[in-house]
Symmetry: C2
Subunit: 323 residues, 2 copies
C-alpha cells in the first residue's frame, strides 16, 4: 500500500520565511475586501475558510456579479501542491495570490501599482509591513503576495480518519471505507491520485503533475458535462501538447467541495466518481463500488482549523474603494 | 452635560433569551453565504464584523452584482437601537434579519419556506436548532432570525475614549475632542444625536426616533448629494407625514463607516459634518469647528470585539445553492 499521511508542515520557501506577524498580516489581507476594486470581494469570498475552502459554486462570482471560467479550488492544504490553479500556471502560492486581485472578473484592481497604493494608504497596514518586511517601502505587490501565502501555509487539515488509520488507529476507518481504499487502487484511481495530497507524487515547487482529462472521450458524460470546452493547461501555455491537460486535483476534503471538476458541472461526489472511472479508466462502476469509494473519500476530511478573525486596519473618515 | 456612556448590555427580549449555543448558531448563520440564493452573500458581506460593521460602500452589492438602494448601516451596537433600517421599518433585530435574506437584490432567497428548507437540509444546523430551540421542527424562519439577532446582541463596542472620559478618565479625550464635545451641543447637533448611541433618546423597542432630513432644502448640498430623491420612511409607510423622515443614525464608530448618509453620497466625515450643520441647522461651520467636531466623533470609536470564526456545518458530497 503506497498511501501517505498528510505531512505536518509544508515546505517553506527560503525567501518567504514564516513569522506570526507575517501570518497575521496575511490573514488580514486574505479577508480584506479592499483588495477588490469595489470592496465587495476578498480572497475568502471564493476560498472560504469557514467552510470548505471554496465557495461551493460551479464557478465563482467576482466583482459586479461577473462569473469566472472555472470552479474555485480549495485553499485547504494548497500549501502542499507544487503548482497552483487548475492549469498549474502559478508556480507557488505567492504567484497564485497575485492573480485574482488583478483579474477583471475576480477582484478587478486595475494594476499592481493601484493595489499597492491602496494598501499604502492604510496606516495600519504600512506599520505592519514595516515590521514584517522591514523598511518604509516594504508595501510592494510581491510582499502582499508573500504575506497572503504565509497565511495560506497555515491552512492545513490534519487528523482525518484516513490519517489516523495510517498512523495505527485501525478503527479509524469504517469497513466500507476500507473497501473503498482497496478499490481506488484496484480500479486504478491512485495511478494519478497518489502522494500525501492525493494530487500526484511530490514534485519540486513549480513543477506540476498533469494528466489528460478526459482521456476517453466517447462516453455520455463528456457531452453531458461539457468536459471538452475548456482546453485546460493549453489555455495558459498555448502549447498543443497541453490540450486538455489538468493538474491532478487533491482528494483531501473533496467531500466538502461540491460541485466537481474544473467547470463545476457535476453536483455530487457519487457522480464525480462515476465520471472519472469512465472518462479516465474506461470503467463502469457498480453503485456499491461507487458507495465504497465515496466512503473512503469521506475519510479524507481533516480537522478544519478554527480561525480567529482579524480586525482590519481601517481608514478613519474615508473610504477607499470604487463605487 | 447630557451625555451617556454606552450601556454594558442591550435589552434582551423576553421571547429571545440569550444562550451561548444560540449565539454560536446565530454567528454561523450570520456568516453563511448559503442564506443567499447563489451562495455568494452572507449577512457579513454587507455588515462586515472584521471591519466597520458595514461594507464601506455607498450602497451594498447583493447577489448577481445588484446594488441596493441605501447604504448598509453598521451592525455594531445595532442592539441598542429601538428600530432597525434607515426608515425604521423593522421593530427589532429579529424583524430586521428577515428582510435581506428574501430581498431579491440582497440575498435573493425566493421565500421564507425556501430559506427554511435549505437550512433544514443541513444536518449540522438541524441538530443545533433542536438544542437551542427544542424539538425537531425548530428550524423555522422566526428561529433563524432569533439566532441571528442573539448573535448581533453581542456585537457591542465598549470602551471608547469618550466612554472612558465619561467614566472619569479625564485624559481619555484630547483637547480638540473636548472642544468638539462642547460644539456639538452649542451648534445643536445633540438636539437629535443624544442618548447612549447618539441616535436619540431611549425609546420602547419598535418605537423610532425620526427626524426630517434635509430640514433646510435651499443649499448647495441638497442638490450636490441628491438628498431628496429618497423619501425615507415615507417609502415604507406611504404616509405623507413621513416624507423625508429618517431614523437618527448612531454616531458611534462613525469615523469607520464612510461613506455617509442614506445614499452613501458623502465620502468624508468632515464633509458630512458640514452638510448636517447646513441642512439641519442652517449653519455654516468654520474648518476649525469641523475639525473639532470630527475629533470628538473620532473619540466615539469603541473596541471592536475579536471574532472567532465559526466552522459552518456542511453538506457532504453536494451543494445547495443555485448556479
Amino acid at each position: 500500500m503506497g498511501f501517505e499521511a498528510l505531512p505536518d508542515k509544508p515546505a517553506i520557501p527560503a525567501d518567504n520565511r514564516m513569522s506570526a506577524a507575517k501570518v497575521e498580516l496575511g490573514k488580514q489581507l486574505y479577508f480584506d475586501p479592499r483588495l477588490s476594486v469595489d470592496g465587495t470581494v476578498s480572497c475568502n469570498s471564493c476560498h472560504n475558510v469557514i467552510a470548505s475552502g471554496t465557495d461551493n459554486r460551479p464557478v465563482s462570482v467576482g466583482v459586479a456579479g461577473q462569473k469566472g471560467g472555472r470552479s474555485a479550488p480549495t485553499v485547504w492544504n494548497a500549501a502542499f501542491l507544487s503548482v497552483q490553479f487548475w492549469d498549474g500556471r502559478a508556480a507557488s502560492l505567492e504567484d497564485q495570490a497575485k492573480g485574482p486581485i488583478l483579474n477583471h472578473v475576480e477582484m478587478g484592481i486595475p494594476s499592481a501599482e493601484e493595489a499597492v497604493n491602496r494598501i499604502r494608504s492604510i496606516p495600519g497596514y504600512v506599520e505592519q509591513f514595516a515590521v514584517v518586511f522591514g523598511g518604509k517601502k516594504s508595501v510592494t505587490y510581491d510582499n502582499i503576495a508573500k504575506a497572503i501565502a504565509a497565511y495560506e501555509r497555515t491552512l492545513l487539515t490534519p487528523n482525518s480518519q484516513f490519517d489516523r488509520y495510517l498512523k495505527g488507529d485501525k478503527k479509524a476507518l469504517s469497513e466500507q471505507a476500507k473497501r473503498g481504499m482497496k478499490l481506488v487502487e484496484q480500479v486504478g484511481c491512485t495511478a494519478c491520485h497518489n502522494g500525501p495530497n492525493f494530487a500526484g507524487p511530490a514534485m519540486p515547487v513549480g513543477t506540476g503533475f498533469y494528466q489528460k482529462f478526459p482521456t476517453f472521450e466517447n462516453n455520455e458524460y463528456v457531452k453531458k458535462y461539457n468536459l471538452m470546452a475548456d482546453t485546460g493547461r493549453h489555455e495558459a501555455t498555448k502549447n498543443e501538447a497541453d490540450q486538455h491537460m489538468w493538474r491532478v486535483p487533491t482528494w483531501r476534503n473533496v467531500t466538502l467541495t461540491a460541485p466537481y471538476f474544473h467547470n463545476g458541472s457535476v453536483e455530487t461526489l457519487e457522480e464525480a466518481v462515476r465520471v472519472m472511472a469512465q472518462t479516465q479508466l474506461g470503467k463502469t462502476l457498480t453503485d456499491k463500488e461507487v458507495g465504497d469509494i465515496v466512503s473512503f473519500l469521506d475519510s479524507l476530511t481533516g480537522k478544519l482549523p478554527k480561525q480567529v478573525l482579524p480586525q482590519l486596519p481601517l481608514t478613519p473618515n474615508r473610504t477607499l474603494t470604487e463605487k
